[in-house]
């Protein structure tokens, strides 16, 4: 008989409410968004107002006629209007004396591209809400197109691999860093392999949003779009952290600190080999990707050192 742990993982202690979503909702098998949404709702509680956008999450967040897939209050937007609608809702409630918890839940296509302007404006104005961006590195709901956070070399339907082209030519935008440069009260990166880290960041965001924007960037591998086996979602998250492709950090008004340090970062190939969208990459292209990872991490290290000195 195996030795039994007497207690469940302490992550369970972070849940303050039941899952408000229906048992069966329209996310792909193994989708990280489904876990992120259910997890976030259980950690933050029932009286959050979700602001959503057309995306992979829209078929679940938005209802169908009178019916709804979950018990939360929500407001549906177009991609251009998420951060601004959240601003309108929270400003009205502040006027009547209530600092409610509004959570924007969008993908990278909205946050980094078409919805970036209002997000940037809201961050600069210290608006009081939480903005969660799930970064699945593309426009997935429309069938896997590239966005500005799609990494170099990725094969997508608008950056396909063929004789004339070899996937996306440019490096990804470092959106969490860009948001941190607005110096809002709280910016953090998180992923699903490190759930306690994520839960802590959600709670910190809930507290910090009373001073201004709290932004969390969640690394979300898309099994369907990236070519990852449905059971490998969490492992891909873990490997992204272990290779420093996606370091876990937080920044409060521009003061950075790492929330998880990787002692021996693995080479990026250990990450890319799990993902089919990179399978065409040559050793030179993989080197470029590795250099980008190294440079990004070096910059982050500098910023965290400055954060320690301040």
């Amino acid at each position: 008989m195996a030795e039994r742990k007497k207690r469940l993982s302490k992550v369970f202690n972070y849940f303050c409410a039941e899952d408000p979503f229906a048992g069966g909702v329209a996310f792909c098998s193994g989708c990280p968004l489904e876990l992120t949404l259910r997890f976030t709702a259980k950690v933050l509680g029932r009286d959050i107002v979700i602001v959503g956008t057309p995306s992979c999450s829209a078929p679940v967040l938005y209802g169908q006629n009178i019916g709804s897939w979950h018990k939360l209050a929500y407001y549906s937007c177009l991609m251009t209007g998420v951060a601004s609608s959240a601003t309108g809702i929270t400003r009205y409630y502040r006027k009547i004396g209530k600092d409610i918890t509004v959570v924007c839940f969008t993908g990278d296509g909205c946050a980094a591209d078409v919805g970036f302007q209002p997000l940037s404006g809201a961050a600069e104005r210290d608006e009081h809400f939480i903005y969660i961006c799930y970064d699945n590195e593309g426009y997935m709901n429309t069938g896997i197109q590239r966005s500005s956070t799609t990494p170099f070399g990725s094969s997508t339907t608008t950056t396909p691999v063929g004789v004339a082209r070899r996937g996306k030519e440019t490096m990804a935008k470092n959106l969490p860093l860009i948001m941190a440069m607005h110096k809002p009260p709280y910016v953090a990166t998180a992923t699903l392999s490190h759930l306690e880290d994520f839960a802590k960041k959600l709670l910190k965001a809930k507290e910090k949003k009373n001073e201004g924007l709290a932004y969390i960037h969640v690394f979300s591998p898309c099994p369907t779009g990236w070519g990852v086996a449905t059971d490998m979602t969490i492992e891909v998250c873990r490997m992204a952290v272990r290779t420093n492709f996606f370091p876990l950090w937080e920044a409060e008004r521009g003061r950075f600190r790492l929330t998880h340090t990787v002692a021996q970062p693995r080479p990026i190939t250990e990450y890319t080999k799990l993902i089919r969208k990179y399978r065409h990459l040559t050793p030179e292209e993989l080197d470029r990707l590795q250099r980008e990872v190294n440079e990004n991490y070096a910059l982050l290290r500098h910023l965290t050192q400055l954060g320690e000195q301040a």
Partner: protein, 399 residues
């Protein structure tokens, strides 16, 4: 019921009048973004706020698209809201404008008419109003600075009415009214509170509340979608009569009324009709008076409500006339005529095959002058007498 206070008369610009109108109605959330010729509206509101006269959440946004999303969402959360824009800004916020009307958010916005891009122009024109005529908003057009202030107040009564719940756009000519200073009577705030008080006695509209399982913006599927569109159209229909009632009550309360959907000027025995909207009506009334002195039986119909289109009122007032001349301050692409003229043509089955003439004038700050209007009336009178006429006349371009 009558207003109790005296108010005060100030010489202020049209933009300032709009700002006063909004300030008196105590909005909860105001979104500000500058664009000529509207900028003074948001400057004035910011000034009111800084001086403690306006207790609102002021949001200096980074673009008009955000401005509309902010006020629409705040209205759905239950608030009273205000913003202002013009031409390009209106175009930039277009997706949010559709959202506001589709969500039935009672937003009140002033749109200071300016030519739409395509040809760069920082000048007056009604093309921006025309570009949004199918947005599902209620659209009003006004003639002078007093009417701007009064219409903003009436707009809140209309937008937030439980039977309406539609966003209202108050249009006024950029440059002609925005920067024109006139003597304007500013009512006391308590009187405006009293005029808007009937809204509090109505049932509460559906709101977004944390903790309640209500979501705004569900996917409309088949009949569910059609039903919502139907309800939206039905609400627009109700807005016509409601607007007339509100205008009448405003008249009883403040001593000024404007006729509701349309104003009829010297129309009782008019044989020919001049129809136009906006600041040109002021000049048009003077020309109608002059022509009347010469013995011509001409009258003016001032179009105040553009959306919903005052079909019944216009049918009633235009029936039995000998010719109708419409001055448009915009164009209808694809029909090669003025847009209001084009909409009037749709009434022909009801008003009969009377000569209808389209006059395009006043684009990009071209003045619609007394001689122009005289020419319009003369041409319309010639058509009434059975002479051959040109359907569309671009007044400033023709010899």
């Amino acid at each position: 019921m009558k207003a109790k206070g005296k108010g005060e008369v100030k010489v202020i610009t049209g933009n300032a009048a709009a700002a006063y109108g909004a300030m008196l109605c105590r909005p909860d959330v105001v979104a500000s973004y500058p664009i000529t010729p509207q900028t003074e509206v948001v400057e004035q509101l910011s000034r009111f706020h800084a001086d403690g006269l306006l207790d609102a959440e002021m949001v200096e946004v980074e673009g008009e698209n955000s401005a509309m999303n902010i006020v629409a969402a705040a209205a759905i959360a239950g608030g009273r809201v205000f913003t202002a824009t013009s031409s390009w800004g209106l175009a930039f916020m277009y997706d949010a404008v559709l959202q506001a009307s589709g969500f039935r958010a009672p937003v009140v916005m002033v749109n200071v008419n300016r030519e739409m891009p395509g040809i760069l122009a920082v000048s007056s024109g009604q093309q921006d109003m025309i570009c949004t005529r199918d947005s599902g908003w209620i659209q009003i057009v006004v003639e002078n600075c007093q009417e701007i202030l009064d219409s903003v107040i009436m707009a809140y009564r209309l937008a937030e009415d439980f039977e309406i719940q539609l966003p209202v756009m108050v249009n006024y000519d950029g440059f002609y009214l925005s920067y024109l200073a006139e003597a304007v009577h500013i009512p006391d705030r308590e009187d405006v509170d009293a005029f808007l008080a009937p809204l509090k006695e109505q049932p509460e509209r559906t709101k977004l509340v944390p903790g309640e399982p209500l979501g705004c913006g569900t996917h409309g599927i088949l009949e569910g979608f059609m039903e919502l569109r139907y309800k939206h159209c039905a609400a627009m229909e109700r807005a016509k009569k409601k607007f007339d009632e509100i205008d009448q009550q405003f008249g009883e309360f403040f001593g000024r009324s404007y006729g509701g959907q349309i104003e009829e000027y010297r129309m009782e025995d008019a044989e020919i009709v001049l129809l136009t909207s906006g600041s040109a009506c002021g000049t048009a009334k003077a020309v109608v008076d002059r022509k009347r002195e010469e013995g011509l039986k001409v009258g003016l119909v001032k179009l105040r409500m553009f959306r919903p289109f005052p079909r019944e009122k216009l049918t009633q007032v235009l029936r039995g006339r000998r010719a109708i001349g419409v001055i448009d301050r915009s164009v209808c692409f694809g029909w090669n005529c003025g847009p209001i003229y084009m909409e009037l043509r749709a009434l022909t089955p009801e008003i009969g095959p009377v000569p209808l003439l389209s006059f395009i004038d006043g684009l990009a700050n071209m003045d619609i002058t007394v001689p122009h209007i005289e020419r319009v009336i003369d041409t319309t009178w010639a058509a009434a007498r059975g002479e051959p006429y040109q359907e569309v006349t671009w007044i400033p371009l023709e010899e």
